[in-house]
């Protein structure tokens, strides 16, 4: 791609931390166990450093009993 071209980048925000606290202050370890990942992955997700697979996103949404869109918000921005 040429210099100066505008590349759209994904900015995925999430509400995992808020949802955990709304669900009896669920720990990161408890959420990690329920969705089948490590606690480090939950930490990376909450920090917005890791973009989950669709399956993991669905699993997390199912644990909280909400839709995927309520957990993850996609904001496309052009850089």
């Amino acid at each position: 791609m040429g210099r100066g071209s505008k590349v759209p980048s994904a900015d995925l925000k999430n509400q995992i931390r808020r949802l955990r606290f709304e669900h009896d202050e669920m720990t990161q370890e408890a959420l990690a166990t329920r969705v089948g990942v490590s606690r480090q992955t939950i930490i990376a997700l909450e920090a917005g450093k890791y973009v989950p697979s669709l399956v993991l996103a669905l699993r997390i949404a199912r644990v909280f009993g909400v839709t995927v869109e309520e957990v993850f918000q996609y904001e496309a921005c052009v850089k």
Binding site: G36, Q40, T41, Y50
Partner: protein
């Protein structure tokens, strides 16, 4: 710390031990004999033991993020390996082309150095990737 990070640290510790032993032995025994120090690299075969305890406790050994990091580090390690391999091959050719043959003592160094480069780069790349939290 994830299991892959522990394995990376273990790999680096074994590599460090091998190189330190080589550096100590080389002045006394000569470079060729000192290469026996790389026998320490056999310890790398024990690194899967790191995974046993977690598997027994039925904890997650490696999730999708770990696999993604491993995939990225493998690509980085193999890319560097090929650059070193091609560079090494051309260097040997440049050094020995006048003789018309390559010493049989040089050829075993190729898989040894290749393996060391692969392990070293993959371990360092793994620690960097986890350090960045990706």
């Amino acid at each position: 710390m994830s299991l892959h990070e522990k394995q990376a640290w273990f790999n680096l510790a074994v590599l460090g031990l091998a190189f330190a032993t080589f550096a100590v032995l080389a002045p006394f025994a000569g470079v060729q004999r000192a290469t026996a120090a790389f026998g320490w690299l056999g310890l790398l075969g024990f690194s899967p033991i790191i995974y046993v305890s977690r598997k027994r406790n039925r904890q997650v050994v490696a999730d999708e993020r770990d696999q993604a990091i491993q995939a990225r580090t493998s690509v980085i390690a193999y890319s560097v390996f090929w650059v070193v391999f091609v560079g090494g091959s051309m260097t040997v050719w440049a050094l020995f082309r006048d003789r018309g043959s390559i010493s049989v003592n040089v050829l075993p160094l190729f898989p040894l150095v290749g393996w060391i480069v692969l392990t070293l780069v993959q371990s360092v790349a793994t620690l960097i990737q986890y350090g960045q939290g990706k």
